[in-house]
Amino acid sequence: MPARPYIEYRDVHVVYSNGVKGLDGVSLQIQRGEFVFFVGETGAGKSTLLKLLSREEHHCEGEVRLDGQELSDFSEYNLHRLRRQMGVAPQDYDLLPNKTVWENVAYALRAVGRSRREVFDRVPKILLQVNVAHRADAFPSQLSGGEKQRVVIGRALINEPPLLLADEPTGNLDAAQSEEIMRLLADLNARGTTVLVASHDLPTMEKFSKRIVCLERGKIKEDLGG
């Protein structure tokens, strides 16, 4: 009997309020511990696939399951239970500009109910893990694009999630920084985290032999195993 997929999209349709199709009958299965790139042009539906998992986006038809749980079952009031099962690194960084790197991560930990003691214990470890411990006292405006992305990934790791969603993590980075970030994500994946990355940075992806799902106009065009 085949193992139950960790993530499953089953004939998913998303139509935006302006009538544009975000996804058009996507079916996809992802196993625990996989590293998957979603590739495609702008509007192909790669970010939508990630946002369906974090429930920032609602699907119109079909099913989206995470570890067997149908995601539409989560209401606004228990959505936090779903979100604590994953880390989200959004495309636009979303770092608080008036807080230091340390405070940005600490703030997220406090927001999910961790005590001050836990915060003091966890933040240095997280910053070390994503290699920005030396920039702990810097404000986001003082960081490079790569460093900002590391902080965002660090913040996404506060719940030690088994799943990490990264939306265009190398979008604003040069080739060297992009590779660094991808290596960081690959390291996390090697430690057991399932990593889903939406990107159109093909040159960097090609350096990592991972599964690539190509999307075009809301449909899966190709699914290339790693």
Partner: protein
């Protein structure tokens, strides 16, 4: 748990500090609305108590039949005194009344004329609303003279009562309008605060903070805005009362203002402000958070 509550309160206070302009705008607008509301309430209370005091100044004259004996007069006086709306009853013997008339109109009342006045009661009212009922009840008593109807300043009493009703209506509607305005102002302030801090809210939700953790700091903020607005209104009212009192001291005939009820004013205005801040922020959070 304490740690969690501390985080939520610190978040609310830090947000107020970070959005000083917005906080000042919310507190001052709420304070102003509550000041006007409190001012109207105080003016109403003062005028109402003045109106109440007028009741004692209105009196009725009720005339007895000829030949009613003093023990019976005393019994009737007791009956009238027990009627609702009656403050005091005084018996005016016909002889005394006649003597007074003589003193008042020595030329008109010629000496040797027989006393035409009946025994009478002077009835002082405690409630002008009851005037008509008292009049009818007294007139129905068998000892009273049906040929000699009760005399009182009916039109004037009605005017005073109408003025008080109008004042009540005016204070009620203005108060309601101001309360609504204060609510809308706090609602707007919280809406703008939510808008200005949507990034924090988004991050909190993305990392897995519960809706409660995200919303409660805003609600605390709204409540504190309302409470501070109430305190500001209380202070402004006290300052106004002090200033008015100082001016009135020059006019001794106008008397003194009653002392400012600082504790009660703070409790009422602070309470209304806090409740309004809480409700307005709750409503303000409903729409943006759902979308």
């Amino acid at each position: 748990m304490v740690d969690r509550i501390a985080f939520i309160f610190v978040e609310a206070l830090q947000a107020m500090r970070r959005n000083v302009t917005m906080s000042i705008a919310a507190i001052s607008t709420c304070g102003l609305a509550l000041f006007l509301l409190g001012g109207i309430s105080l003016v109403y209370v003062a005028l109402d108590s003045w109106g109440q005091s007028l009741s004692g100044k209105f009196e009725m004259r009720a005339y007895l039949k000829d030949g009613v004996k003093p023990p019976e007069i005393s019994k009737v006086a007791g009956e009238i005194r027990s009627m609702p709306g009656v403050k005091a009853v005084f018996w005016i013997p016909r002889d005394k009344a006649w003597e007074r008339e003589k003193v008042k109109y020595p030329k008109e009342v010629s000496q040797g004329l027989e006393n035409p006045l009946p025994d009478a009661f002077k009835i002082v009212l405690s409630d002008l609303n009851q005037a008509d009922a008292v009049e009818q009840s007294v007139q129905r008593l068998p000892q009273m003279d049906p040929q000699n109807p009760i005399q009182y300043l009916k039109a004037e009493q009605e005017l005073v009562e109408q003025s008080r009703s109008f004042l009540r209506w005016l204070a009620g509607s203005l108060g309601a309008l101001l309360l609504l305005t204060a609510g809308v102002l706090i609602y707007n302030a919280i809406r703008m605060t939510v808008f200005s801090r949507r990034k924090e809210a988004r991050i909190m939700r993305l990392v897995g903070a519960s809706l409660f953790t995200v919303r409660v700091p805003y609600m605390i903020e709204g409540t504190l805005h309302g409470l501070a607005g109430g305190a500001l209104a209380c202070f402004l009212l006290w300052a106004c009362q002090l200033s008015l009192q100082n001016r009135l001291e020059a006019f001794t005939a106008l008397g003194q203002l009653p002392p400012f009820p600082a504790g009660a004013a703070f409790l009422v205005l602070g309470g209304i402000g806090a409740l309004y801040g809480f409700l307005a922020s709750w409503i303000a959070l409903w729409v943006p958070m759902r979308s």
